[in-house]
């Protein structure tokens, strides 16, 4: 035992996590990113203060910029909220992108079917179709996991490609607008099938408000409800959850359906919102980015809201530095990576301390099991 090779450095759980550090960590991470980013920009030959200004402030320095931040953050937050429920319960839905695509496709087909009609009921129908389609797509991994114990990570991920191919097939085929000269796109949605904008001159629709409501509801569910309690216990201590008689299959179903439904909702919000038709590309990877947003927000609804805004801002900022400074997109990628790295590193260091070889003793390793 004592001759075991001791690694040069290892992480040791802290006996107590400083409460203040839990909240200070993200701020420290942002400061570290500003410093690291400045060095990066300077090395690339760009004035750091101009780059940082363009990255963080220029994109949201007017109403339109703020509205675009909301437009970009809405699907990310919406999907991440759904995913976080599952992640808390150790249910790993990686296929939100596919559930979004299917939601957009089926919601969009309802819109196209009712394109020539007017009536208050059209939008709700579209939205319900989108949500149900997303749920149905997520029900497949739920069924396979609860029935055959298949891995929901693989199933949900592979279904993403199927969803994308299905969308491609239909927009190249039956849904194609005959007037589009053979190009793969549906007819444009009519006004009665589009979400109205709530702010003149912007693209913000009621989807943003609904998303905020859902953030609130998720908060209540997670923090206050018995279901939320079950989800947390199932994630933190599966054995205890079983012992307490929480039915795991039910949690798998609930969390996957919630995740799929919200991803489907994000999908129909995109096509009935800023896109306004069905086309081969609907999401620039929102379903995958939302996974980062969920973890960045520590799976907490409010954290996810902030994380969604931050990630959205990093996209807007990336565009601004390209337009205003001619900075290549790759630099933006490195900068975004730096931001995530510092955030996660700070998170780790709040809960763990670094032990170099020769300092401290490994007696506390057993305590790790107690941590979530």
């Amino acid at each position: 035992m004592s001759h075991k090779k001791v690694p040069l450095l290892r992480l040791e759980p802290r006996a107590e996590t400083a409460r203040v550090m839990v909240y200070a960590a993200p701020l420290i991470a942002v400061v570290l990113t500003l410093i690291g980013g400045s060095v990066l920009f300077a090395l690339m030959g760009f004035a750091p203060h101009v780059a940082l200004y363009n990255f963080f402030i220029a994109p949201i320095s007017d109403t339109y910029g703020l509205s675009e931040l909301a437009v970009k953050a809405t699907p990310l937050v919406l999907i991440a909220i759904g995913l976080s429920l599952g992640f808390r319960a150790n249910v790993w839905n990686i296929g939100a992108e596919g559930q979004l695509t299917i939601g957009a496709l089926f919601g969009g087909m309802v819109a196209l079917a009712l394109n020539d009609l007017t009536g208050w009921y059209i939008l709700p129908l579209e939205i319900i179709a989108g949500v149900l389609a997303g749920m149905a797509w997520a029900a497949i991994p739920a069924f396979l996991r609860t029935r055959f114990n298949t891995n929901e990570i693989l199933v949900s991920l592979m279904l993403t490609y199927i969803a994308q191919l299905l969308l491609n097939l239909l927009v190249h085929g039956v849904l194609r607008d005959p007037a589009a000269l053979g190009f793969p796109q549906s007819k444009a949605f009519s006004d009665s099938t589009l979400l109205p904008t709530i702010l003149d001159g912007t693209r913000v629709t009621s989807s943003t408000i609904i998303t905020l409501l859902i953030v609130g509801i998720a908060w209540v569910v997670v923090a206050k409800s018995f279901v939320g309690f079950q989800i947390r216990v199932a994630g933190l201590a599966p054995a205890a959850a079983r012992y307490a008689g929480f039915r795991q299959p039910r949690l798998v179903w609930m969390t996957l359906l919630a995740g799929g439904g919200l991803a489907g909702l994000a999908g129909i919000f995109e096509v009935a919102g800023p896109i306004g038709q069905l086309q081969p590309t609907i999401s620039p990877g929102y379903g995958f980015t939302a996974i980062i947003v969920a973890f960045l927000g520590r799976l907490h609804p409010l954290g996810i809201l902030l994380a969604g805004l931050l990630v959205a801002l990093s996209y807007l900022g990336g565009e601004a530095v390209q337009i205003n400074m001619g900075m290549p997109l790759a630099v933006t990628g490195v900068f975004q990576g730096m931001l995530l790295f510092f955030l996660l590193a700070c998170d780790v260091l709040v809960s763990y301390r670094i032990r170099w070889r020769g300092t401290g003793q490994g007696a506390v390793t057993g305590a790790r099991a107690a941590k979530g």
């Binding site: 500003l34 203060h49 053979g182 800023p274 620039p284 337009i323």
Partner: protein
């Protein structure tokens, strides 16, 4: 990190936090031209050719113009924001270089009536939106002629992206030209449903060659099909950019998109105040389509014939779609002595005689 750098950087961060920094200064008196790319500016294919066009225009116009670009813009909800942001940042003319940017371009153009817009490969115009595209099918007639001469098995293979008119024009043009010099030729098509997917493109080329094809053409952007042909010692043709470096012997020639002249003219028109929305569809004559480097291994007579076809198309002596043209099922599209009009080409949704298979729908 030395202390001085650290303190300087910290000072910078503080300055930003206090909001003391200013945005990048606008260059006065220069025309600003913005470009939106669907892929990376150095993708080795479609977007890179547009970026080379931008650089050429920048070089030609020198101090009179300032250019900028945004790369890898998805063809979804993001496009509108990026185009708008570019317009708001003071651009005088914006080139949106992918089909999927069409509706976003039209929408933003409405909000910025003083900014000029140019959309590539689409069909919607407005008072301040012009459209442009290249007659790639002219290049296809040249490589079709060459393929008809080069094939020994009389089977040509075509790795195709999406069944849109532009791609179908290319398949038909190449087939007509190949059969004009070698009536026994057939054309087999594999659709990969992507503009850029080296794995799928290579697999498609392999599948075609397994069926006896010995000349590979492609309307996808990676050099993978060409390289697959090279591996088996067969001929291939590059696409978008000059792919000579990837397969110096096997690339017989290729079709190169060339936007530099067009971009120079259009930006010049903005400088002169003479810009009007156009509908430009240029080929060899407009210098929008070029041929890539010819392989040294290419028989001299094949090369000479290729250059003659190029020249005949350039001077209008020959049209890639001149009658008689028959559809796959033998029905006549147009009789001898007639050529297809631009409108007919724009809606092309059928294969001509000699193409095997059906258009996916």
């Amino acid at each position: 990190m030395s202390k001085s750098i650290l303190s300087r950087v910290l000072g910078t961060a503080a300055a930003v936090a206090l909001g003391l920094a200013a945005a990048g200064a606008h260059a006065d008196g220069k025309v600003k031209a913005g470009f939106i790319y669907v892929g990376p500016h150095n993708d080795g294919g479609y977007s890179q050719q547009h970026d080379m066009g931008r650089l050429e225009a920048q070089k030609n116009l020198g101090d009179k113009v300032e250019t900028s670009y945004v790369e890898s813009v998805p063809e979804g909800a993001d496009a509108e924001r990026v185009i708008r942001q570019m317009a708001a940042s003071g651009a005088n003319i914006i080139f949106t270089t992918s089909f999927g940017f069409m509706d976003a371009t039209i929408k933003v153009a409405k909000q910025f009536p003083k900014v000029k817009f140019e959309h590539a490969t689409g069909y919607k115009t407005a008072d301040n939106v012009g459209i442009y595209n290249a007659r790639f099918y002219e290049g296809r007639a040249v490589i079709g002629t060459m393929a008809g001469r080069l094939t020994k098995t009389n089977k040509i293979g075509y790795v195709a992206s999406f069944p849109i008119p532009e791609v179908i024009q290319g398949i038909n043009s190449a087939t007509l030209a190949a059969r004009a010099v070698n009536p026994n030729v057939t054309m087999s098509v594999v659709w990969v449903n992507s503009w850029y997917d080296p794995g799928k493109e290579a697999a498609a080329a392999q599948a075609l060659m397994d069926q006896g094809v010995d000349v590979i053409m492609q309307h996808t952007d990676s050099p993978a099909p060409l390289q697959a042909a090279a591996q088996r010692g067969f001929w291939g043709f590059g696409q978008s950019g000059d792919m000579h470096q990837y397969a110096p012997d096997a690339q017989a020639t290729g079709i190169v998109d060339h936007w530099g002249d067009y971009y120079t003219q259009r930006i010049q028109a903005v400088i002169d105040g003479t810009w009007k929305p156009d509908n430009t569809w240029g080929g060899f004559a407009a210098n929008m389509v070029n041929l890539a480097t010819f392989s040294d291994k290419l028989p001299a007579d094949v090369k000479a014939e290729a250059l003659k076809v190029e020249d005949d198309i350039k001077t209008g002596k020959r049209h890639p779609f001149q009658g008689p043209i028959k559809k796959q099922d033998g029905s006549e599209v147009i009789p001898a002595g007639k050529t297809l009009s631009d409108d007919e080409l724009s809606g092309m949704n059928y294969y001509v005689e000699g193409v095997i298979g059906t258009i996916p729908n």
